[in-house]
């Protein structure tokens, strides 16, 4: 099986270590991964701001780069969701449909395609799992508190097997962090308040490291943590799954 790795634009540029962890982790799991160098962005920043039409070039570039793979894997629930849900603005050629059907968020891919739960990592810290909304309610990577049904979470499945990790329960298990793309800027006051409340919930529950499937949420939270000099850190889930051993 051929796998194309999509590293979201802002991870590529601002958090290369998350990209590296993702790649190393997949290689550790004996997966042959290709990183197409012509990739840029899934188009979400423009689309969520109401400029879907300006994102068409990005979408086309995305499909062009990933059309030949059996799977596209990305360390972002949000980007994977965008490709799945909003690439209907393009002509639905078999190629486009293939890319849309075959894109997977990293945890989803490990659990449901590779069928692996124990990735052999060690991480002796108290971890708070931030449930990034697009992964949770868009891709259904876990059960959410609104819907009635059995509890499940691909992220928890993976973290539970990591040696030393203690997953700390939160008071509000899956409330949004307030990033929301341009929302973080256009609705600055509410965005900041949401972020502050989120961090407080993690701090109150003894969390040392906040982790998530999406670095964008963590970028927002990290910005607040650094400004307010709070005793807590953020790490992408790929970094935790790739740590130790």
């Amino acid at each position: 099986m051929s796998i194309g790795l999509f590293i979201p634009c802002y991870i590529d540029q601002l958090y290369p270590k998350v990209g590296i962890a993702t790649l190393e982790l997949l290689e550790k799991l004996n997966v042959q991964v290709t990183y197409p160098s012509g990739q840029t962005c899934c188009g979400q920043p423009m689309a969520n701001a109401g400029y879907e039409r300006e994102s068409l070039g990005a979408c086309q570039n995305f499909v062009k780069n990933f059309k030949d793979f059996d799977y596209v894997v990305t360390p972002s629930g949000s980007c994977a969701y965008h490709v799945k849900k909003h690439y209907n603005i393009m002509e639905q050629t078999p190629t486009t449909q293939k890319v849309r059907n075959n894109i997977f968020e990293l945890c989803d891919f490990i659990i449901n395609v590779l069928k692996i739960k124990d990735v052999g990592a060690t991480f002796p810290f108290r971890v708070g799992l931030h449930q990034s909304c697009h992964g949770l309610r868009g891709l259904r990577l876990g059960s959410c508190s609104e819907r009635v049904g059995n509890h499940y979470s691909y992220m928890e499945d993976l973290l539970q097997q990591v040696k030393g990790v203690r997953i700390m329960p939160l008071n509000r298990a899956d409330e949004c962090c307030g990033f929301g793309g341009t929302f973080a800027v256009t609705e600055e006051a509410v965005s900041i308040k949401m972020g502050k409340d989120k961090i407080k919930d993690h701090l109150n529950n003894g969390v040392e490291i906040i982790t998530a499937t999406d670095m964008s949420c963590l970028m927002h939270l990290e910005g607040l943590i650094m400004r307010n000099k709070q005793p807590i850190k953020v790490m992408h889930i790929a970094e935790i799954l790739n740590s130790g051993s």
Partner: protein, 461 residues
């Protein structure tokens, strides 16, 4: 004022934000406890969705059926294309029966139509009889929530208000005492009312009857004591059969407050002997919304308010920041259909987290509709030059990997090297309360390129 501006003002008092957020989260939590107890909850939601979708697809037929049955029950039926016509009809009925004093139970429709000021200007006293609505009426405000109209007021504010208007004694905000006084005050209003106005939660085509749900009993106190009862309904309140109430009454209160059902679910079918009953069926933009395939599901709404309680933005910006009769997520998809220009900031007052859609008892795809409104708004409303240009530039950068990498490299350099005074200058809204990420020297792409090169050299060497 736009949502961000009003939200900003609301956030000046962080304690109040915390209080408001907590109060509504508590309601959301009660909803969870209640919903999670129901076997087949998700199926029930699906049923609710399907029944509403079916009704909308046959709305004209069902309205005709409803009218026919209501008429044969002895109810007078009126049709209003818009708010003004609705107000005129209500006024005409009141004038005909020489009503000067009117009691009104909660009806978001009459709020939408601004019925109160219309009647008051014509010398008719209108008393809102839901306690929360009475509180905001005394405060000369509008409801900030459709189920909890006075959720933005604390007990001390209500205490002050009642001292001023109902001559109560200072009570340190004792809800028991205040409610008791309100009961007494409203009793007198009920006894002396010439007419009662209620909303409609569900109208049933099959029977020509309608259902009104309250916890206080205020709709019934009004409707059964006054000689005339006028029920005002948006035309989307219709459901085909009485049996369908089994689905909706199971969903409504659990979603709204976590109660298994409202205290009173009153089924009106015929007027009581010697009394008059009227129904005003109102369009006011609904048929327009029906014609928009992307947005017609917004007409499924049963006004439970669950999307407000769950919305992290609503909880932290308050209902008044939406500046529309129906605030919160559902208001943000209904209002642009009414006045795109006036409400163009509302679909952006969301992180698209999707909690509203998952909590909605009739499965309205609220967050998807917010996304779709955004696309329309940027096309039809003039956007700030900066936003327009930056989106265009981003669009073209992301279409071209070489350009993107060059530009991004520059940005990383800037993050590392520019002085704080420039990086955190005023236009950087992100940096007002947050640090910017550090600009790493090497991007992932560059790191990967290096690794590939090293591998290749090893293989060649």
């Amino acid at each position: 004022m736009s949502h961000p501006k009003l939200a900003n003002i609301f956030n000046e008092d962080e304690k109040k934000v915390d209080w408001h957020d907590k109060a509504l989260w508590f309601v959301r939590h009660k909803r969870d406890l209640s919903a999670h107890k129901v076997k087949g909850w998700e199926t029930l939601r699906e049923f609710g969705h399907q029944i509403k979708a079916h009704t909308l697809a046959n709305l004209d037929q069902y309205l005709i059926e409803f009218e026919k049955n209501a008429l044969s029950n002895g109810i007078e039926v009126h049709w209003a294309t818009n708010a003004e016509e609705h107000n005129k009809i209500v006024h005409r009925i009141l004038k005909e029966c020489q009503a000067k004093k009117v009691v009104k139970s909660k009806s978001m429709l009459t709020e939408e139509c601004h019925l109160n000021p219309f009647l008051e200007e014509r010398g008719i006293e209108v008393i809102d009889t839901d306690l929360g609505e009475r509180i905001v009426q005394l405060a000369k405000e509008s409801p900030s929530h459709i189920v909890l109209p006075a959720i933005h007021k604390n007990r001390h504010e209500v205490d002050d208000l009642f001292q001023q208007h109902l001559n109560t004694k200072p009570c340190n905000g004792d809800p028991q005492y205040l409610t008791q006084k309100a009961r007494k005050h409203l009793r007198e209003k009920f006894i002396n009312a010439d007419a009662a106005i209620t909303g409609v939660n569900f109208a049933i085509a099959e029977t020509g009857g309608f259902v009104v749900c309250t916890n206080e009993g205020n709709a019934d106190m009004g409707a059964h004591l006054a000689p005339v009862h006028i029920a005002c309904m948006g035309m989307e309140k219709l459901i085909p059969k009485q049996d369908h109430l089994g689905v909706f009454l199971r969903l409504l209160a659990r979603s709204a407050t976590g109660q298994p059902i409202t205290t009173y679910s009153s089924h009106f079918k015929t007027p009581a002997k010697g009394l008059k009953m009227h129904i005003v069926i109102v369009d006011n933009g609904r048929s327009e919304q029906l014609g928009k395939p992307d947005f017609r599901a917004s007409l499924h709404c049963i006004r439970c308010g669950a999307c407000m309680n769950t919305c992290p933005i609503y909880r932290r910006s308050g209902g008044h920041s939406y500046n529309y009769t129906i605030p919160g997520p559902i208001g943000s998809i209904l209002s642009p259909g009414k006045d795109l220009k006036k409400h163009s900031s509302l679909p952006f007052a969301s992180t698209l987290c999707g909690s509203c859609s998952d909590v909605c008892p009739v499965k309205i795809d609220i967050h998807s509709q917010l996304y779709k409104w955004r696309q329309i708004i940027t096309k039809e409303m003039k956007q700030p030059m900066l936003k327009r240009k930056s989106m265009k530039i981003m669009g073209s950068l992301f279409s071209n990997p070489t350009q993107f990498n060059r530009f991004a490299k520059f940005c990383r350099w800037a993050l590392r090297n520019l002085p704080k005074s420039i990086l955190y200058a005023k236009p950087n809204v992100w940096g007002k309360s947050r640090e910017l990420p550090k600009g790493p020297k090497m991007s992932f792409t560059e790191w990967h390129q290096n690794r590939e090169n090293t591998k290749r050299m090893k293989n060649n060497g």
